[in-house]
Amino acid sequence: MKRNKWGLFFILPYTVTYLVFTALPIVIVLYRSFFTNYWKGLKEVGPFFSGFDNYVSLLSDSNLHMYLTNTAIMWIMGFLPQIILSVILAAWLSDHRLGLKGVQFFKTVIYFPNLIIAASFASLFFSFFANTGPVNTLLMDIGIIDEPYMFFSNTWSTRSLVAFMNCTMWFGNTTLLLLAGMLGIDPSLREAAEVDGANSKQVFTRIILPLIRPILLYVIITSLIGGIQMFDVPQILTKGTGNPGRTTMTILMYLNKHMYSKNYGISGALSVILFLITAMLSLIVFSVSFRQERR
């Protein structure tokens, strides 16, 4: 039918933009990953074809493993509390039997931290938790500690700060998305369950949770992608060093370091590895949810 040509017209801008600004860069990344090319002082070495050399040197490097672990730990530390809090909050806010007041205000408040430039937020925490910063001064005034606690000299306190910041910035966003899903559920389903004598918990686990699964999946996937991209907060908080002892160095900070030193070959290989990890993780999430849907 002639009208269906319009469909092609509507998807044209997207397709062209995608091909130029995403597909083409992917080809460039792949191409570069097979060439040795870096700068030694002011002299450029390469580019010359070297097969899988970049991959071999990266994978045999224990640093990569360490940075991957750091990223995963900090993501989980932030995401678990975030998703639990968001599901609970969204369930409460959408429960008409609770009849909460000030929901509008609360929604506005919890989304607020997401608006803050991550760099600004990290910079703020760097000031607040500095050795002479307000948090230490306050803790000493109250008498909890005698001398400043060096938050940025301890691996777990630095990681916790990163996770806490990520959680604070993103739980509002997640809550709003889940809440939109829960409010979109046909009210008659809920009312029917309630007439049949279901309590709030049963309504939640039997009606709401199964119906918001697509949105839950969407939230998990986007957060996963966001977690692998973790960069701004630890970068600013540790001035790009990933200290203490590079235990907060994320995979992207590592990539940034290589790109900054113009190690194009290694950067290319690292990008490809990063891509493969992302693809694998997303496939797992997708297949799990697909299996549940068929059950």
Binding site: R3, Y14, P25
Partner: protein, 276 residues
């Protein structure tokens, strides 16, 4: 458990959560009004007297604070509008029409949703260099036309709420396809447009990694880049009042914009378009 005792628990949690969301920023704005000497003396919840001094110091410091603010606004606004508009257009093209390759397009778009921009950034920066677009905002705005995650959201939204009967009715009335999209579909998608525009605005506003690799000229820098320079050795001026002032200033516009857009987004979510 009775609804009343549940309500007590719920309200307590909501208050604690709200406090944790707002406290840092309240303290930030308080600190921005205090002088360096005042700040070293300790923590306070009462505003200081150095607001105007800190403001003037910011205007005359070595960082391009004002121009970066302007640049950030320009980039974030134009990319978020473009992104929402074209994502809806693309989703509509897939949702409402039947043409060969439609399924493949959808599958590919959803698969490519997984590819973070950061993974392709090496090639992207390389390409931008070859196009002579370094120190330009074009590479930060135009690529947002193709945002797979937003596209996915839009198509899910259409599947659940867009009444095709309205589109059919407009067709019977003789409206052209482009007219139907802009005048019938787009208004129905307003809540989704607002939600994704805000998310995209924040994302663009927040964006630090890619702009830092593309924008090097001082007059082209965006806000996050300037914030990252606060700690750099070139800016060895450790006036904490000034540092808090710059951070506070960097988040001020998003706060103001949010006060306007939050009503739009929240009413959009709760009214939920078409019932059913």
């Amino acid at each position: 458990m009775s609804n009343n005792s549940r309500r007590v628990i719920v309200y307590s949690v909501l208050i604690i959560v709200s406090f944790l969301c707002l406290f840092w920023f309240y303290a930030l704005f308080i600190n921005a009004t205090r002088s360096n000497g005042d700040l070293t003396r300790g923590f306070s919840l009462i505003p200081g007297t150095a607001l105007i001094d800190n403001w003037n110091n910011m205007l005359h410091c070595a960082l391009p604070v004002m121009s970066s603010m302007k640049n950030s606004l320009l980039v974030a606004l134009s990319s978020s509008i473009l992104c929402s508009y074209f994502s809806i257009m693309t989703a509509y093209g897939i949702h409402a029409y039947c043409f060969p390759g439609r399924k493949i397009f959808y599958t590919l778009a959803v698969c490519f949703m997984m590819i973070p921009k950061q993974v392709t950034v090496l090639g992207f920066v390389d390409l931008v260099g070859r196009m002579h677009l370094r120190d330009s905002f074009i590479p930060l705005i135009i690529p947002e036309i193709a945002a797979p995650i937003v596209f996915y959201y839009m198509i899910k939204y259409m599947e659940s709420t867009l009444p095709m009967s309205l589109v059919e009715a407009a067709r019977i009335d003789g409206a052209s396809e482009l007219y139907i999209f802009n005048r019938v579909v787009l208004p129905l998608m307003r809540p989704a447009f607002a939600v994704q525009m805000i998310f995209k605005f924040v994302e663009s506003w927040n964006n630090y990694f890619i702009p830092a690799l593309i924008l090097h000229d001082d007059s082209k820098k965006t806000m996050p880049i300037v914030i990252s320079l606060l700690r750099s050795s070139n800016f060895a001026n450790y006036d904490n009042g000034l540092i808090y002032m710059v951070i506070a200033f960097s988040i001020l516009p998003s706060v103001i914009i949010y006060l306007f857009l939050s009503r739009l987004i929240i009413s959009g979510i709760t009214s939920g378009g078409v019932k059913g």
